[in-house]
């Protein structure tokens, strides 16, 4: 089975794709930081930040709307922020009844709500662009260069490698259960909720055991090829001049957004 669905990398060989992964990781994080740092209602700065995203999209050859189309993942979470519409004091905009409550939307509440959603929406687009233009193993190497402890990056590297194997395994387990989830007319099928939960737990246990025993075999395979505790890599991952220039420029631009947002 193939779970390419999990691979968010789209190779176009563009300028962004060729940029050193460290640069992309730093720029993404700083951009997100900047969004969150902008005050509520900094519309001009938000707009400019979006232009920045569009420009990055253009540089990636993925199409201008690439991140836009995928940017609604975080939207459901906006529900968590919906209460600020009513709870922040300000002049009322509209009032309506919901069940037993009388709810009043205030202008300050609206301002805050919209700002929160925009921040989230801008941030997620940048993150999407990062994984679309950088192979995940390169992101992990970048994290290593950025001094994330080796044990953690190694765990992440293994997680990524085995994700596909184990997810396939899960899908096969789910499939096996589905294939035998039969019913005959006249009988109530499906069993009790507790029984269904137990079956799911058994599947998790089964998966655990297989994963555990597989890790033993993988370790053997690594030993067989000379592993002594450290993963070596041959990829150069060097910062070139273009990388330095790019990171300096983009950080300046993001700083500019901050200034514009605060004046």
């Amino acid at each position: 089975m193939h779970f390419d669905v999990f691979d968010r990398y789209h190779d176009t060989g563009s300028f962004l794709h060729r940029l050193e992964p460290r640069v992309k990781v730093i720029v993404t994080v700083v951009f997100i930081f900047s969004n969150v740092f902008l005050p509520d209602g900094a519309w001009l700065a938000f707009g400019l930040s979006w232009l920045f995203v569009l420009f990055a999209n253009a540089l990636s050859n993925l199409g201008l709307a690439f991140t836009f189309k995928r940017s609604f993942i975080a939207l459901p979470f906006a529900l968590a922020a919906i209460t600020v519409l009513f709870s922040i004091p300000g002049s009322p905009i509209s009032t309506f009844h919901f069940l037993f409550w009388e709810l009043t939307i205030t202008d300050a509440g609206l301002l805050r709500f919209v700002s929160i959603v925009i921040r989230s929406w801008l941030s997620v687009q940048m993150a999407i662009l990062l994984v679309a233009t950088t192979r995940f193993p390169d992101i992990v190497h970048a994290l290593e260069h950025l001094r994330v402890p080796a044990i953690l990056t190694t765990i992440i590297a293994f997680l990524y490698r085995y994700l596909f194997v184990l997810v396939d395994e899960v899908f096969r387990l789910l499939r096996a259960r589905e294939a035998r989830s039969a019913a005959v007319t006249g009988l109530r099928s499906g069993g009790s909720v507790a029984w269904r939960a137990e079956v799911a737990g058994n599947m998790a246990g089964q998966l655990f055991l297989r994963s555990y025993e597989r890790s033993d075999r993988v370790y053997n395979a690594m030993l067989a090829r000379g592993y002594t505790g450290h993963l070596n890599t041959i990829y150069p991952h060097e910062m070139r001049r273009v990388d330095y220039v790019t990171i300096a420029l983009t950080l300046l631009i993001i700083l500019l957004f901050q200034l514009i947002g605060r004046i």
């Binding site: 994080v29 922020a81 801008l122 941030s123 200034l259």
Partner: protein, 312 residues
């Protein structure tokens, strides 16, 4: 694709900078300790093991079971990971899982990843392991029952922490967010508990050696029991307070200065966004902004560095 983990993954934009940074600092410190402990306690053999266990948690979160009316239950896994792998390794494994979910699938943001790791990785591991460890020498049935309670509580702890962070960031009103978060997760937690218990009993039946005395998970001791029990008590006491009597909590938070620290943006570090000797000019505001940013980044980097040195 049933990729639908519990709605605890906060996206970027929903927590303000102060709360995000504070959570990152706490998380980085705890992870730093976890890194040095696991480096010491476990051989290099454990690294592939933990990587695969992380993939296991990730994959196990996809195992769902129908409850009723189209909803289904599934696993978060923090408690299970800590019970099986020990608390430190469990935390690292959950950190890796949450990092990959955020980085690769945008499931949870990057700036708020510290908070997500804290809520779903650290709290859950502490509760799960702490409570389980307290009955290490009891019968299997007791262990399973306690593991179930711990799993449920761990989900509630994550939900409560998420709610508090959203409130402190000024993203939600306290009462609304705690009530919804806690009631939704009280149900989700039941699924978590059932699956955790069934998975553990499966392991007890097939490979008891992985869970007994002398296994990886049996190494740490009393400190965890205390931590687990204390955090559980906080959850149990704080949940009703937050959802039934938000004014009380609000009062406490104001008295302690939490709300000011949280809700006012971090430029308060520099009063009125101005650098004193430049007066209230635009330049002053600009410089104050830059300074503020550098201070925060500096704190993060410095903490990271020290931890890095400690751990290597």
């Amino acid at each position: 694709m049933h990729y639908a983990p519990a709605p605890l993954h906060i996206p970027d934009g929903f927590l303000n900078v102060t709360v995000s940074v504070i959570c990152w600092v706490i998380t980085v410190i705890v992870i730093g300790v976890a890194v040095s402990r696991t480096n010491k306690a476990l051989g290099e053999k454990q690294v592939p093991l933990m990587g695969i266990m992380a993939a296991f948690i990730f994959a196990a979160q996809m195992i769902n079971f129908p409850i009723a009316g189209g909803t289904s239950g599934h696993l978060l896994g923090g408690a299970l990971a800590a019970i099986v792998l020990g608390p430190w390794a469990g935390m690292l494994v959950m950190t890796a899982v949450i990092a990959v979910q955020g980085l690769l699938f945008q499931d949870g943001g990057l700036l708020v990843m510290g908070a997500n790791i804290f809520n779903m990785g650290l709290l859950t591991a502490a509760i799960g392991y702490g409570l389980y460890r307290s009955v290490m020498n009891k019968s299997t049935a007791t262990k399973l029952a306690v593991a179930g309670v711990a799993a449920w509580l761990s989900v509630m702890a994550g939900a409560l922490a998420t709610a508090l962070q959203l409130w402190l960031s000024g993203t939600s009103s306290l009462q609304a967010v705690t009530i919804t978060m806690l009631s939704v997760h009280a149900l989700i937690g039941i699924g978590e508990a059932l699956i955790t218990v069934a998975a553990l009993s499966f392991i007890f039946r097939t490979r008891p050696d992985l869970l007994g005395e002398g296994s990886v998970s049996a190494e740490s001791g009393r400190g965890w029991i205390i931590a687990g029990v204390v955090i559980s008590l906080i959850v149990i006491l704080l949940s009703p307070l937050a959802s039934a009597n938000p004014d009380g909590l609000e009062r406490v938070a104001t008295d302690l200065g939490f709300i000011d620290a949280g809700q006012a943006a971090p430029f308060n570090i520099i009063a009125d966004y101005t650098v004193p000797f430049l007066g209230k000019t635009p330049l002053s505001t600009i410089l104050a902004g830059i300074l503020g940013a550098f201070i925060v980044i500096g704190i993060v980097v410095a903490t990271g560095r020290t931890l890095q040195k400690k751990s290597s």
